[in-house]
């Protein structure tokens, strides 16, 4: 039994699916959210993540499957009978009630008489104690967001659902609220299920991320697992950037598979990191590596032995170099791929690395990951035409 499985489950979805008429918004999926964790459902718009969230809240009735909170099956319960609260994307604050009464709403509906103390403490937690008598329309977007959060967590639900709660905020405020949300989650120890399309937000905040695409969960794991060892080209491209090279298995060498790409380029890939259907010679795979794992050497330096032995190497020509402050992003034309992306930290910049320069890209073979060769190179990128089914 793994450590995760031994923990008590916060939410368990079993075979849950949702169809709207002919459209399948969510294909049957199983998902376990550990109690007390910060769990992110990540995917592009229309991938079914919000529908999944609404089924947990009870605002949407699943077509098949069950929803359990802790050990209780709540599939048939209406939303007001579930110990679940939601922070809506539009905040959905009651415009006719002031901040205090908005936050007290859930407590009062449960018949709790003395709400003043709980409300005050929760408003202090989100640093809005001084605005208790304001109406929602008199608050800024960030303040409204905090009221929405306070209104949900004051009830100490078993699970707190966050539906793109930061989507309407500007970038700076969003960063600040990400840290804030993480702090509050740690402080109150509730299970958070957070829906977002922002991969950076998911990686910053979540303990576990489920990447959804077209109504299915593509991969589930910690941010580090998903980033370092993506299971599909969608995950590889959607979480950060990836270079994907079409290659073929040419043999094995110890624990590594040897790949050949574009005829004469030879690459090593740890067999344990290869997700192709077989490891037989001739099997097509996609070899992937993250742009920051790759080092760049001018060809003259590479000839002089600046590239250590045992590293994967690809020759190429710099097409473009864009300075981004902490790093420089290079685009390199190579026989295996016309636009390999490379991030180089601006520590000791080689002045010869300008567009047109002949270079050698090299990296530790252990940082290579292998995907099934049938996968789309572009899944999850901006060029991806989108296979996602639109949820209403």
């Amino acid at each position: 039994m793994s450590a995760v499985a031994e923990q008590r489950a916060g939410v368990t979805l079993t075979g849950i699916s949702k169809e709207f008429g002919d459209v399948t918004a969510v294909h049957p999926l199983d998902l376990t959210v550990p109690r007390g964790s910060f769990f992110a459902l990540l995917g592009a718009s229309g991938c079914g993540k919000t529908t999944t969230l609404r089924m947990i809240a009870g605002l949407e009735q699943p077509t098949t499957g069950t929803v359990r909170l802790g050990d209780d099956d709540v599939t048939a319960l209406p939303p007001h009978r579930r110990k679940v609260n939601t922070v809506f994307q539009s905040y959905a604050l009651f415009p006719h009630l002031d901040v205090h009464d908005n936050v007290a709403f859930g407590l009062r509906r449960r018949g709790i008489r003395s709400v003043a103390k709980d409300v005050r403490e929760t408003l202090e937690l989100v640093e809005l104690g001084h605005l208790a008598r304001r109406k929602p329309h008199q608050l800024s977007g960030g303040q409204q967001q905090r009221v929405a959060l306070a209104r949900a967590i004051v009830n100490r639900p078993e699970v707190l659902l966050l539906d793109e709660p930061l989507g309407a905020l500007d970038l700076k405020l969003r960063r600040q609220m990400q840290l804030e949300l993480k702090r509050i989650q740690t402080e109150v120890g509730l299970t958070f299920v957070h829906v977002t399309h922002d991969q950076e937000e998911a990686m910053t905040m979540a303990d576990t991320i489920a990447v959804m695409n077209a109504g299915r969960v593509e991969q589930l794991g910690t941010p580090v697992d998903l980033y370092e060892d993506p299971a599909s080209s969608f995950v590889a491209n959607f979480l950060g950037q990836s270079n994907l090279i079409a290659a073929e298995i040419a043999g094995t060498a110890g624990a590594d598979l040897l790949l050949s790409a574009a005829g004469d380029v030879k690459l090593a890939l740890p067999a344990a990191r290869c997700r192709a259907r077989s490891t037989a010679v001739g099997t097509r795979v996609l070899a992937g590596m993250r742009p920051e794992k790759i080092s760049l050497a001018h060809r003259d330096a590479a000839v002089d032995g600046a590239v250590p032995d045992g590293r994967n190497r690809i020759p190429g020509t710099v097409v473009d170099a864009s300075f981004t402050g902490a790093a420089t992003q290079y685009l390199v034309d190579s026989p295996v791929c016309p636009e390999l992306s490379v991030f180089v930290q601006n520590v000791e910049r080689d002045p010869r690395l300008v567009p047109g320069a002949q270079v050698v890209l090299h990296w530790n073979p252990a940082h290579t990951f292998g995907l099934d060769g049938e996968e789309s190179l572009l899944a999850g990128t901006l060029e991806d035409a989108g296979t996602g089914e639109e949820a209403p």
């Binding site: 009870g58 209406p78 007001h80 539009s90 959905a92 009651f94 006719h96 449960r110």
Partner: protein
């Protein structure tokens, strides 16, 4: 010329207001008249006789009371039924919804006399005795349109997420309706109710066609009196209604402004 250009909007607005309010001013002024004959059309001398004895004319105050009772009853009934209908039409998809949506406009669009005559025929054929009941049925019917239109516009602009939020925050269906839906729809309901009251109170044509011999509403009384000579007391009642309406509007503005400035 430049002065004119700059103040054109104010001038046009003032002219429109004068045009609208002049008849009210005439009514007000002539409520203080002391007419020589039966007709209160020429100014004679200032007098407060009518104001000190508004019910001095036989039957008039009874007709005012009847009009107020009918307007109040019709307003309450039309507001309740109309609000429910507006929610049904705005929120639910059902057979006949499109037809319902256009039929609800019919009483507003149809010439009043046509509706009055056909209602009269209907009551006659159904052998319903003309009286307060028939007037009420007619008034509730045409008030319904105004309530439905006002409430439907409000409901359509309400964010459905607010009700989801209420359900998410442990409010059952009834609590959600009472605590969130109703307060949010209240401005629309109030507007519909106020329109209903005003329209019912001053309706003449439909009431005339569907009233019994002993049911005389205030507009009917004025109509009858105008044949013989209108007593000054009619001006008094008219002015009082105008002032009451004006006071309500001013009070509403003051309360609204105070709420805004305090909040």
């Amino acid at each position: 010329m430049r002065w004119l250009r700059r103040h054109l909007v104010v001038i046009a607005g003032t002219l429109a207001l004068v045009y609208l309010l002049l008849p009210n001013v005439v009514v007000l002024v002539f409520s203080f008249n002391d007419p020589a004959g039966r007709y209160n059309y020429t100014w004679q001398s200032f007098s407060t006789d009518a104001w000190s004895d508004p019910c001095g004319v036989a039957g008039m105050c009874d007709s005012v009371g009847l009009s107020l009772r009918i307007a109040l009853t019709a307003t309450v009934a039309a507001t309740v039924i109309g609000t429910l209908a507006a929610f049904a039409l705005a929120r639910h998809r059902f057979r006949g919804r499109a037809a319902g949506n256009s039929l609800i406009f019919l009483p507003m669009a149809m010439p009043e006399v046509v509706m009055a005559a056909s209602l009269g025929t209907l009551f006659l054929n159904m052998r319903i005795e003309f009286g307060v009941t028939t007037i009420l049925i007619a008034h509730i019917m045409f008030c319904l349109s105004f309530v439905v239109v006002a409430v439907k516009a409000r409901v359509a602009s309400m964010d459905p997420k607010l009700e989801e939020a209420a359900r998410d925050l442990y409010a059952g269906p009834l609590q959600t309706f009472l605590r969130v839906t109703l307060p949010l729809a209240a401005p629309g309901i109030a507007a519909g109710a106020m329109l209903s009251f005003a329209i019912s109170l001053d309706d003449f044509i439909i009431t005339q066609f569907n009233a019994g011999p002993s049911t005389v509403t205030f507009p009917m009384y004025v109509w009858g009196a105008s044949q013989r000579g209108i007593p000054v007391q009619v001006n008094v009642i008219g002015t009082a209604m105008f002032v009451a309406a004006l006071a309500l509007v001013v009070a509403g503005q003051v309360v609204g402004a105070r709420r805004r400035s305090r909040a």
